[in-house]
């Protein structure tokens, strides 16, 4: 079985069914009926398969090369997005994008960890592994949101903060720590959605939100399965086993009361039917932002404090 057998077997089946359907159209009614029956059975089997995905299979979906990235969500969920650049200290880190936009007409600040769609773009964006500048840019935009009373919506999708020499020299730890503290003090509402990989402190740096949602096949964990596997067994190739014990799926996090809700994905992952996922996100963001309208700034801050206060 190859690496992606879980998701690819169905892709192959769908292709074959399409061919069969074409052939069947030219053949008898009975054949067409058989093909349609087969198609139905395949769909049911697929649905069942994805409902019972093992954590590791969700890890693969969360990292799928066709998985929609932060900019896809920003484009589909908001209007008038204007990207704003730079941390005002060092540079513009392209692993994190952010700016101002409207959600159902309401002005908001939007920030996301941005993976690339091509290798070239991924290199430019450092595979969404931010440096301190990225976190400082995000903080600048959040404090701007605070000043102008705009809610903040963040999209989390990173393997982790970048563990490089320059990042250490410029205070990766301090930048993340500062974000955690400052985000906790905002009096505007913050909504976070984990759309792909929620990799450790690097993810949390955008994650101190009033409401945290996860897509059905997103993951969120303290360490990558590969990392845990190499610590536990001195062997990075047992990531699959590690993933299955570390409770990193949306369902796990909901059960641990870390997140507020799960946004459904179509069978096979978000890239299969992006419209459905966007619709789900839109509904949750709208509901969430609506709920804050009756609350005072102090309540909004205190509720966020209590959300994290109660964990553990």
């Amino acid at each position: 079985m190859n690496e992606n057998s879980g998701s690819n077997a169905f892709d192959v089946l769908h292709e074959h069914i399409a061919i069969l359907e074409e052939l069947a159209a030219k053949a008898s009614v009975e054949v067409a009926k058989e093909v349609s029956l087969f198609k139905e059975k395949t769909a049911k089997a697929e649905q069942k398969h994805y409902q019972e995905l093992l954590p590791w299979e969700r890890v693969k979906l969360a990292r799928h090369s066709k998985r929609p990235v932060a900019s896809d969500y920003i484009e589909s969920l908001f209007t008038d997005f204007t990207e704003l650049h730079g941390d005002r200290y060092f540079k513009d880190d392209q692993a994190i994008i952010g700016g101002v936009a409207r959600f159902n007409g309401q002005a908001v600040t939007v920030i996301g960890q941005q993976k690339g769609k091509t290798t070239k773009e991924n290199i430019k964006r450092n595979f969404a592994m931010a440096s301190p500048e990225g976190y400082r840019k995000a903080l600048r935009l959040m404090q701007q949101a605070e000043k102008f009373g705009r809610p903040v919506v963040t999209f989390i999708d990173t393997p982790g903060a970048y563990p490089g020499m320059g990042a250490e020299e410029r205070g990766q730890a301090e930048a993340i720590a500062r974000n955690l503290m400052e985000m906790s003090q905002l009096t505007v509402p913050v909504v976070a959605i984990v759309i792909g990989e929620g990799g450790s402190g690097g993810a949390l740096g955008l994650g101190v939100a009033n409401h945290v949602f996860m897509l059905e096949n997103a993951i969120y964990s303290v360490i990558s399965p590969e990392g845990l596997s190499s610590i536990l067994w001195k062997d990075a190739t047992r990531a699959q086993e590690a993933a299955n014990i570390m409770k990193l799926t949306a369902q796990d996090l909901l059960e641990l009361s870390i997140i507020e809700g799960i946004i459904a994905e179509p069978s096979g992952g978000a890239h299969r039917d992006f419209e459905t996922v966007v619709f789900g996100c839109k509904k949750e963001i709208a509901k969430s932002l609506e709920s804050f309208k009756k609350k005072t700034p102090e309540q909004i801050r205190e509720e966020r404090y209590q959300k994290f206060r109660q964990i553990g």
């Binding site: 563990p163 993340i176 964990s221 360490i223």
Partner: protein, 269 residues
Amino acid sequence: MVEEFMKKKERKELKAYQIECPDCKETLDNDELLNELNVCYFCGYHFRLNARERMELLVDPGSFEEYDSELTTFDYLNFPDYTEKVKAIKSKTSEKEGLISGKASFNGEAAIICVMNPDFLMGSMGAVVGEKITRAVEKAITLQLPVVIFSSSGGARMQEGIVSLMQMAKTSAALGKLDRSGGLYISVLTDPTTGGVTASFSMLGDLNIAEPNALIGFAGPRVIEQTIRQTLPEGFQKSEFLKEKGFLDKIIDRREMTRFLGDMIALHR
């Protein structure tokens, strides 16, 4: 490996009351070393301390009043072997968790104090460590006392998974509250402080202080070396390096620590 073997070999010739400095290799007298707060009196090498030792050596005698000592580890994820591991480390260290907290004074200046324990699962931060820090900070807000936290940790505790990650947010949020209330927080980073602990409460002091030559960083040196595929320069991620880069206010010798903390607390009163 060879070095370690040599050390062991040499150590055999030491008397029971003697110890060798791992840095300058001088033979040290145990009692004398303790007088110097476990700092080598030849080269200034700071021996690692567990939480009780540090508390005993640095706060005013008899001033420590412990908080939340009953809090003990919970296995949130049903993580393989975790319960057994914790049980073993508990009996080995006679501690219930990886941090002790309470009220104490430095040269007569009262403070809320937390000390991480490197001997307890590498001082990793699980739910209890996060909870004890948060409660201590909240207590400091109520009592209007400054907070001093001594860090030494490998980071978030992987056996508690996402729950341990969230302690980063919880502790930082509590410190945000303290900050807003005008309270003083002095963070003292000791060898080693890395990962999710550095990337949360350890870097958030009004004053960030470190002991000399302590390893302080976000990613561990090995992870960085694997990422960039080259060896790190000498002294990278050491206290002196962090101070040079602008992330520490001061490096304080352990033997000066009590007086320094007392002075700073008095100055902020």
